[in-house]
């Protein structure tokens, strides 16, 4: 039992497995004071949303017995762009760089922008916005009448390659992504300039890491202020994952990245896209 756990720890990076198992018992969910996020002025970004047909999927850190059901949902076909985020801060000045509360974004928030309403020099307005915190992403989604995708929703879509909804068993799937992920400065490229996946969704991998609503359900930092902690049993599960998934280094990278984040963090290659329930009711 202990041995299996140890092997799992090695494969997954010892650190976050251990801490999250501890945390599952201790972390209490706390809500962000709602009035700060409530009153956004509506925005209407012109982005196509793609219907994702739900289904059961096996989370990366899971066992056969912990299949997770993903309901039908709508997902932005691409990440939010610089131009769109600029429109958002113009209409919602409290999310401007000079106005943002330290609680909601660290000091690199929109750091390359020339001022509150001017995009970075040489930045493509059609490139994905980066240096945005989880709070800012969430506020943007809310203003657009949407929400952030859950980790399960995001990973469900990420199983697809260009031909199939689930390419996890293809050996080339992970190998290709590892080398793609290793490329620097991809975030500077225009959105939608590469091929869409099976669902018609663009840029899941080739531009930026993306925030998910519950990114920290598998993370170690103890910012309980922001954590709607939701232990889906992804983690403390003691059985080994399938061989294919142990070799799925690309997924490991995403989980490792998420576990290094706090909700106020803003990072140069981290952006987001929005999702929506099919019933048209936001979460």
């Amino acid at each position: 039992m202990y041995k299996i756990f140890k092997i799992l720890m090695y494969a997954g990076g010892f650190f976050f497995l251990m801490a999250s198992c501890e945390k599952a018992n201790t972390l209490t969910s706390a809500k962000v004071s709602s009035d700060t996020l409530d009153k956004e002025v509506a925005i209407t970004p012109d982005v196509k949303m793609v219907l994702i047909n739900g289904g059961e999927y096996q989370p990366f850190y899971g066992t056969d017995s912990s299949l997770v059901e993903v309901k039908d949902f709508l997902l932005d076909e691409r990440p939010v762009t610089n131009a769109e985020f600029l429109d958002f801060v113009k209409k919602n000045p409290k999310w401007k760089r000079s106005k943002i509360k330290a609680l909601f974004a660290d000091d690199t928030y929109l750091q390359d922008w020339q001022d509150d309403e001017t995009l970075p020099k040489n930045a493509d307005p059609e490139a994905a916005v980066t240096f945005v915190s989880w709070f800012a992403a969430k506020a943007y989604a809310k203003a657009a009448g949407k929400r952030l995708p859950t980790l399960d929703e995001w990973e469900y879509v990420a199983m697809a390659d260009e031909e199939s909804a689930n390419a996890r068993d293809k050996p080339t799937y992970s190998a290709h992504l590892i080398n793609l992920y290793n490329e620097k400065d991809r975030q500077k490229n225009k959105v939608k300039s590469s091929a869409p996946n099976y669902w018609g969704v663009y840029n899941m991998f080739d531009l930026v890491w993306e925030w998910t609503d519950d990114f920290n359900s598998i993370m170690t930092t103890s910012d309980s202020r922001t954590a709607e902690f939701d232990d889906k049993g992804l983690f403390c599960a003691s059985a080994a994952t399938s061989t294919t998934d142990v070799l799925n280094y690309a997924s490991f990278m995403r989980y490792a990245f998420r576990s290094s984040l706090k909700a106020s963090y803003t990072v140069g290659n981290l952006g987001f896209r929005c999702a929506k329930d099919t019933t048209n009711s936001t979460k």
């Binding site: 494969a11 690199t108 050996p171 992970s174 992920y181 620097k184 290094s260």
Partner: protein, 344 residues
């Protein structure tokens, strides 16, 4: 009857003694070092590029030591005309040599360069605590983590990145050595060098030119394209060969980052006078080849008596002659025919 009782008592006593000895020793050691107080101002760990390393600790008292390591992802040369995307600590493979003494309290700053794609962290084998610091130092691009630990056990230890997927972070070059000197320091020698073995797994064959991608299948199969010292084929050859003079004592701090292979470390034409086995406190003498496990280290010491070129190898010899596990120690000075002499 009396004899049986005596025998039995003796046996019991022996058993008891066997039981107690090891536990006494080990607990006494960590309790004592835990109680060592630090004094004076904090000092900054100097950053010296391998194969060089910071100066000996000597007999200084335990202090607070500030160590700074920056995780980077950068293209570098793996062999002539062959480049690779290395992941490093402080832009070198192996990363900066950390040199402290037992009882020191280390304040470790791990930053991740803002242009990094990946998160990184550090697991130091010299640390007593969960994950060796990995959990406390997991850091996103552009961010910093600060982690304190007290050095309790003297020895030579490996550190490495333990962010998922761990094998990839190590395979890309994220490892180095941390030396915890005993109180009073290690005995003086004339030369010290920092040598660390590691494997690289590339899509192309050995010496195939151009930027080479990581090959996961070769990694899993433990079939490296390169086995090298200090992150590059010929890093310790030619103009970069290590140097010593006849009569000098030489000490190598040798680590093995792996990620997979165990090294059979050997210097052709020399005998290690002393080996700190596995980097610990036990000293073996007169050793030809010492085994260094992946994620392990050894300190080897020898006196050079005769001028010439001494080839440093992993004596799993195909690695040396075909994959790059080769370096050189150039010894200059007077010949001594008594020791070595070609007669005809």
């Amino acid at each position: 009857m009396k004899r049986i009782v005596t025998c039995f008592t003796l046996a019991l006593l022996t058993l008891q003694a066997c039981k107690q000895n090891p536990s006494e020793n080990s607990s006494a050691k960590s309790e004592n070092t835990m109680d060592i107080a630090v004094s004076g101002d904090a000092i900054n760990q100097s950053i010296v590029n391998p194969p060089m390393l910071p100066a000996p600790i000597g007999d200084r008292a335990a202090k607070k030591v500030v160590v700074r390591l920056e995780a980077t992802e950068e293209v570098g040369e793996l062999a002539d005309g062959v480049t690779y995307k290395f992941w490093t600590f402080n832009s070198t493979v192996p990363g900066t040599f950390i040199r402290i003494r037992v009882g020191d309290e280390v304040e470790l700053h791990v930053t991740n360069r803002s242009d990094s794609v990946m998160p990184h962290n550090i697991d130091l084998h010299a640390v007593n605590g969960p994950g060796g610091g990995a959990e406390a130092t997991n850091v996103a691009p552009g961010k910093e983590a600060i982690f304190n630990f007290k050095a309790l056990n003297p020895g030579l230890y490996v550190y490495h990145c333990a962010a998922a997927p761990v094998p990839l972070h190590i395979a890309n070059g994220m490892y180095g050595l941390i030396l915890v000197e005993p109180a009073g320091g290690l005995p003086k020698v004339d030369r010290e060098y920092y040598v660390m073995q590691g494997e690289f797994y590339t899509k192309g064959k050995t010496d195939e030119k151009g930027l080479q991608e990581f090959d996961q299948d070769k990694g899993v199969d433990e079939r490296p394209t390169y086995v090298v010292f200090n992150g590059k084929k010929n890093a310790l050859m030619g103009a970069n060969a290590l140097e010593a003079k006849v009569g000098e004592t030489v000490r190598f701090f040798v680590g093995n980052g792996g990620p997979n292979l165990v090294s059979s470390f050997h210097v052709i034409g020399e005998i290690f006078d002393r080996v700190y086995v596995e980097g610990g406190s036990k000293i073996n003498e007169n050793v030809q080849t010492t085994v260094i496990p992946a994620g392990g280290a050894a300190i080897v010491e020898f006196k050079v008596e005769e001028p010439g070129n001494y080839i440093i190898v992993d004596h799993s010899i195909f690695r040396a002659f075909n994959k790059g596990a080769i370096g050189m120690l150039k010894v200059t000075g007077e010949k001594n025919p008594k020791i070595y002499n070609k007669v005809q």
